[in-house]
């Protein structure tokens, strides 16, 4: 069918959505690149400053700390979340009583407003009135409440733990969807051959859901590079910069210190790191993970 005469109509139909993505996704990538070589002025034209934003960045210990925290989230938080989600998915995939209820409950935090979840956990982790400290004290693990979010030792992992609490069910549902593609005959055949449950999982199920696991991994990469809402309400990046992540530091420089050029330079670096990590892991997976979905 020749649709050429409908071209004006096609363009008209595509225009609104294409505009949204060009203006709010693609244009910013290029705009950031220009801005990163400028000093931003609230009024009047920006001043070209060469690579000085990048020089400042590489000498800025807080930038390195926020990059490090982002990578800790990625290398520690993401695998923990995926492994937990995998275990849970394997369990609720079995015909056990109440498995639908478990699925619903574990997924329940995912749609809830992240700001609300951040506030809930900020309070649960409080050293005086927090429920977590109450439980720890009751079972005799500690004598004094731990101020988790004010502590240099615990703050980072408390924040990462909270994000895992929210996203766990989402990963579980993804893995569960992958598990539905595993033919039952294969597992049954292995069962007859006398393979135990661990062996069946390891040698049959896991290889068959490899692409799903890589998909989770890619989504985990994006999540770890974009974490913001919860950090903002739970710790604001503190204590010191112990929970400073790339986006929180970018936000703060741009919108609290008016250093938009500097923030743009950090965004460019962040985008490049994100892209590299994604492409490398996609290469490792043999391109199986395909694309990934962002929160919006």
């Amino acid at each position: 069918m020749n649709d050429r005469r409908r071209l004006p109509l096609i363009i008209l139909f595509l225009l609104p959505s294409v505009l949204v993505f060009v203006l709010y996704r693609w244009l910013p990538v290029i705009w950031n690149l220009f801005l990163s070589f400028q000093k931003w002025k609230p009024i009047g034209a920006n001043e070209w400053v060469g690579a000085s934003n990048y020089v400042t960045m590489f000498a800025d210990p807080v930038f390195w700390e926020s990059l490090q925290n982002t990578l800790v989230y990625f290398f520690v938080g993401t695998p923990v979340a995926i492994i937990l989600a995998l275990i849970l998915a394997l369990f609720v995939n079995e015909p056990i009583p109440g498995r639908n209820a478990y699925r619903t409950i574990i997924f329940l935090p995912y749609p809830i407003t992240p700001v609300a979840i951040g506030l809930i956990w900020k309070w649960l982790l409080n050293d005086r009135v927090g429920f977590v400290n109450y439980v720890l004290r009751s079972v005799g693990l500690i004598d004094e409440g731990i101020p988790f979010l004010q502590s240099f030792d615990f703050a980072l992992f408390s924040v990462i733990g909270t994000t895992i609490w929210q996203v766990l069910g989402y990963f579980m549902i993804l893995v569960l969807a992958g598990l539905q593609t595993v033919p039952t005959e294969l597992r049954d055949a292995a069962l007859i051959d006398g393979a135990g449950p661990l062996r069946r999982t390891w040698s049959i199920t896991l290889p068959l859901i490899r692409s799903t696991l890589f998909l989770c991994f890619i989504i985990g990469i994006i999540n770890s590079f974009t974490v913001f809402d919860m950090v903002y309400v739970m710790t604001g990046g503190g204590p010191g910069h112990a929970t400073e992540f790339l986006v929180t530091y970018i936000y703060r420089n741009a919108f609290e210190f008016n250093r938009l050029g500097y923030s743009a330079a950090m965004t460019v670096v962040m985008f490049l790191v994100l892209l590299t990590v994604t492409l490398v892991s996609n290469r490792f997976s043999g391109g199986e993970a395909g694309g990934a979905r962002h929160y919006e």
Partner: protein, 262 residues
């Protein structure tokens, strides 16, 4: 196995229950040790939220923005999906643009997005708040797979009857895609309702705050352990929890379609 699942379920439900209980009793803020069962329930804290801040105004902002986002999502996404049912030269380019946009998280676009919206004069406006979410890739592809499933013969015979392409979108494509519309509504609403970083950046006028933004600033009015805060948390979370629980299957199949796409 059951034991671990039970433990995880408790770890997820207990915090939510704790918030709900505290918002109704204020109990464990003052009592130590806290009790599991609520006593002397009252709605005082909920009333107080309305008393202390213009809650209705903030809720209205959130509702207006979400309605704009939902309506534009249905319209723009279905138009885009219908365009993709045609054959044309630059179709791969358009699909490439959509898919690659998924790899550009909005968080990496905040600075230019702010400058652009300022140029457009849309800071502190409902339209400005809705703009970046007016079309979403996942939802375009939800429509696309629904449209692709409609038999060509129906479309062709409608065309022979002289139905215009605009009417075709309305009377055939959308009419036969109510599950896809529902998915669009649910996902667009939840994303818009929960959105935080964008209102945080472009709202400078206190009266234009959306609920998550007002929630994050509520702490400046109160001590961080007040029953009012948790009543507020409950009020913000209830719509999205309700929407999820009422449309569980659709919500999950929608986000799965989004994740698998590409």
């Amino acid at each position: 196995m059951q034991l671990l699942l039970l433990a995880v379920a408790v770890m997820i439900l207990l915090p939510l229950y704790w918030v709900l209980k505290t918002s109704l009793t204020g109990e464990n803020l003052f009592n130590y040790p806290p009790s599991l069962v609520p006593r002397d329930m009252h709605v005082f804290y909920f009333v107080d939220v309305f008393y202390w801040i213009p809650f209705a105004r903030f809720a209205l902002n959130s509702v207006i923005v979400s309605v704009i986002v939902v309506v534009t999502n249905i319209l723009f996404n279905s138009m885009a999906a219908m365009a993709l049912t045609y054959e044309f030269n630059f179709k791969p380019l358009v699909i490439g643009l959509y898919l690659s946009s998924m790899m550009i998280p909005f968080q990496t676009a905040i600075i230019p997005a702010f400058l652009l919206t300022r140029e457009l004069g849309l800071l502190n406006s409902h339209v400005g708040l809705a703009l970046p979410l007016m079309s979403t890739i996942v939802n375009i592809f939800v429509f696309k797979s629904s449209f692709d499933a409609i038999p060509r013969s129906i479309i062709d015979s409608a065309r022979i009857d002289g139905v215009s392409e605009w009417r075709l979108l309305d009377t055939i494509y959308l009419r036969l895609s109510s599950p896809a519309i529902a998915t669009n509504v649910i996902l667009a609403f939840v994303w818009s309702w929960n959105n935080f970083i964008w209102p945080l950046i472009i709202v400078r006028d206190e009266a234009m705050q959306t609920l998550p933004l007002a929630l994050s600033r509520f702490l400046s009015y109160f001590e961080d352990t007040s029953g009012q805060l948790y009543a507020f948390v409950v009020l913000v979370a209830i719509p999205v929890i309700a929407i999820f629980l009422l449309n569980q299957k659709r919500f999950i199949s929608g986000i799965l379609a989004g994740a698998m796409k590409g």
